[in-house]
Symmetry: C2
Subunit: 139 residues, 2 copies
Amino acid sequence: MNKEELKNLIKEAGLRVTIHRLAVLLAVVKAKQPVTVYELTEILRKKENIDQATIYRNLSSLHIAGILRRLDFNHGHAHYELETGTASHQIVCGKCETIEKIEGVSIDNAIQKMIQKSKKFKNTTTHSIEVYGVCKACV
Amino acid sequence: MNKEELKNLIKEAGLRVTIHRLAVLLAVVKAKQPVTVYELTEILRKKENIDQATIYRNLSSLHIAGILRRLDFNHGHAHYELETGTASHQIVCGKCETIEKIEGVSIDNAIQKMIQKSKKFKNTTTHSIEVYGVCKACV
DNA sequence: TCCTTTATGCGAAAGATTTGCAAATACAAA
DNA sequence: TTTGTATTTGCAAATCTTTCGCATAAAGGA
């Protein structure tokens, strides 16, 4: 995903392409792991002169637009990553804040079964799995 | 799970069986869905004269003891339910705060695959799946 | 019953996130 | 290119969730 593609994502969502919005999106995309607002602030406050509220507002608009995915690992604050279409699976350490993203494991049939059993939902958009454990460093 | 069994759970965890702690645990167990602190406060403030901080502290101690499971659905606050040993799977509405618990769908082989792929974790304790969609009432 | 540890109430504090409002900016239309 | 309007931003304050300090109260083993 290069800058132009990200710009298009924003445009197609009906949002305006501002320097700050693009910077926030770029920073999320560049991160190897789902990022927190705190981390984004660290990254962006240096280069851009960007307010905390602006970061929050952009994360929110990009999330509502379906461009970013918002994740929660019971750390008391949200994490964001690019909404790729494929679901997000991670293992989370219960002692430290380590997260490991695991790719290539599908649970699509389980999701199908869940929808069949559901009374309130006909279909679903995305899902996330948080597997909890204690990482090797904390054992 | 009756009152006596819950008392024993607390005792076995090395915690003291207080009126408030038991009331919090009972209220969580009685709820049909994972409850929030707000809901617990509503329920408990009427009967017991129980402080907000006490609810938080008891939820925390029961969670650390492995009696309660703490869940997050990106609603900005935690939900709690009894830690049953079997994992917790739910579908969450992205528009309203509806949650539907789905039982009887296992993803244990997917979890196994995830551990095999993991570099940072050797094994895991629990997991949760949040499947997001828009519920029939919100469509 | 006594003693020590743990739990509670209360108020204050911390941390994450949202909001109101005026000024600045994006971008479509002229 | 200029203009006009809706959107975005900065700033400060507010809100919401959760935690903490400390003195008092209660639990439960000796």
